[in-house]
């Protein structure tokens, strides 16, 4: 399974790479201005988090938009990648009323392939100032935390997922399971 990580400058980008590698995916970190043509042969893509604020510095998010439009593969946006995905498809992201740093708990409302086999509530690690404020059309919220309503979302039309929390971090419970589930989506999509 070939799943690359688009680097938007996050502290945990390399962790995403590591988890994918630990799960035996063929993976690589690529800059976010990598031409889309170089990503055509992938089975999946992760859009990392980053220091840039999606709303304030959209230019620092490089070609993330092009990837979302042109690549017909499963894409997982994390933190800034998730917020960008919401904004790109007509939703919005804005500074969070209560930003979350470190420990939080998410509750899954909508059963989804991404959370398959996981408990309804579990502990996650956060690190964000902004959040998804308006869900794009044809997306559903999958999970929330007490201070952030869109902790997870997905598109109803394509295998596009967004997570506000960080499944790649050791302290997040079931993080590896979430990546395993994402890889399963990639596999199913490939043999589709």
């Amino acid at each position: 399974m070939r799943v690359y990580v688009v680097d938007n400058g996050g502290q945990w980008t390399h962790r995403e790479w590591r988890v994918l590698r630990d799960l035996d995916a063929e993976t690589k970190i690529v800059p976010n201005d990598t031409p889309t043509s170089q990503l055509k042969e992938l089975d999946g893509l992760v859009l990392s988090g980053g220091a840039p604020s999606v709303g304030l510095n959209p230019e620092l998010m490089g070609k993330n938009g092009e990837y979302l439009d042109a690549l017909d593969i499963p894409i997982l946006g994390i933190c800034a990648g998730h917020q960008f995905m919401a904004k790109h498809f007509g939703g919005d992201a804005a500074p969070a009323k209560i930003p979350e740093f470190g420990k939080s708990v998410v509750t899954v409302h909508e059963p989804d392939v991404l959370f398959k086999g996981l408990p309804k509530s579990f502990e996650v690690w956060e690190s964000h100032n902004d959040e998804v404020s308006v869900l794009p059309k044809r997306f559903v919220t999958l999970a929330s935390s007490p201070n952030c309503s869109v902790q997870a979302m997905r598109s109803l039309d394509r295998p596009l997922f967004g997570l506000q929390f960080h499944p790649e971090v050791e302290d997040t419970q079931h993080g590896y399971d979430i990546f395993r589930n994402f890889l399963k989506v990639c596999e199913t999509n490939r043999t589709r």
């Binding site: 400058g9 502290q11 390399h14 976010n32 980053g50 840039p52 690690w125 302290d171």
Partner: protein
């Protein structure tokens, strides 16, 4: 999955192929640099010289311990005593990033001097993933300058070799165990050493307070873990705060210094939870520090996770 044996073979091969002539390695005695030294030593033999710098900022007994580690590894090595130079460079400096940069620059200055004396063109470092991630660059924000990344001059004479660049500490430990390195399980210790555990100005006197208090924290937490009272934390130490407060010693008012005890559980240092140290253990640490370290009259425990805090205070 990560395969330590395959990694060793690959890296020894890469160093053999990539390094012509001699190299020096910056050795701190910790697991990262000891592992990098063992890999480089396998590849280069006597063409490698390990250089350890006693900055005057080290923990109790550290220099003797590092000497023993390097002897055990049978790596050709040299110890530099440079405490005066470091304290002189740090005089009057309060800003944590300035401290880190000054120390990083000083290290490189010393390594370049030693490399030129040994006739080496290469510098091997035990840099691991969190070092370059947190040092920032391009899109990535700088959280803190790691000495082995941010201290490097733009135009460096030495060519860098960093075999552990893509690993985290837990993976380095796996490699170290395969190599039979004794310090495989040693807790991480920052390159700028006690300078980033003395908040405010770094003087020999203030470093001595942090050193004595840290030795007590280490002793007590290791004893508690041995007794099965708690798991051994990922990292545990004392921080001297730039805060004084009032106390009473022998019916007399004192105005003393404060020590913060930090203990944190983590797998890779990139995130972590503060350790749930049993009360009786904290109590012993507090009593010992305030009685045995002259000048300290208050001890506090740090209950912050990473994020929002970092593991070290600076």
């Amino acid at each position: 999955m990560f395969d330590p044996q395959a990694f060793i073979d690959e890296q020894v091969g890469a160093i053999k192929a990539g390094v012509e002539g001699k190299a020096i390695i910056a050795a701190s005695g910790g697991v990262d640099s000891a592992t990098a030294a063992a890999l480089a030593s396998r590849a280069l033999g006597s063409r490698l010289l390990a250089v350890y710098v006693d900055t005057g900022l080290m923990r109790k007994g550290e220099t003797a311990d590092v000497d023993a580690t390097l002897k055990e590894l049978r790596v050709n090595h040299k110890i530099l005593h440079a405490a005066d130079e470091f304290f002189r460079a740090l005089k009057g400096v309060m800003d944590p990033e300035k401290k880190r940069t000054i120390i990083g620059n000083k290290f490189i200055e010393l390594f370049e001097r030693e490399a030129s004396a040994f006739g080496a063109e290469y510098l091997v470092q035990g840099t691991i993933a969190p070092d370059w991630i947190e040092s920032g660059g391009q899109l990535r924000d700088r959280i803190k300058t790691h000495h082995n990344v941010g201290g490097l001059p733009e135009q460096m004479k030495l060519k860098l070799v960093e075999p552990l660049r893509d690993l985290y500490k837990d993976e380095v430990r796996k490699v170290a165990r395969v190599l039979g390195i004794r310090v495989a399980e040693r807790q991480p210790f920052p390159g700028p050493a006690l300078a980033v555990r003395v908040l405010g100005e770094v003087t020999p006197e203030r470093v001595a307070l942090a050193r004595e208090a840290s030795a007590i924290v280490e002793e007590e937490l290791e004893a508690a873990a041995k007794k099965g009272l708690m798991p051994l934390p990922w990292q545990y130490f004392a921080v001297l705060l730039p805060v004084q407060s009032v106390g009473v010693h022998g019916d007399q008012r004192v105005y003393g210094h404060t020590i913060a005890v930090r203990a944190i559980d983590s797998v890779d240092g990139m995130s972590g939870k503060y350790s749930k140290v049993p009360d009786e253990v904290l109590d012993r640490i507090s009593v010992r520090i305030t009685n045995e370290v002259k000048g300290i009259n208050r001890v506090v425990y740090d209950v912050s996770n990473k994020p929002p805090a970092t593991i070290e205070w600076e």
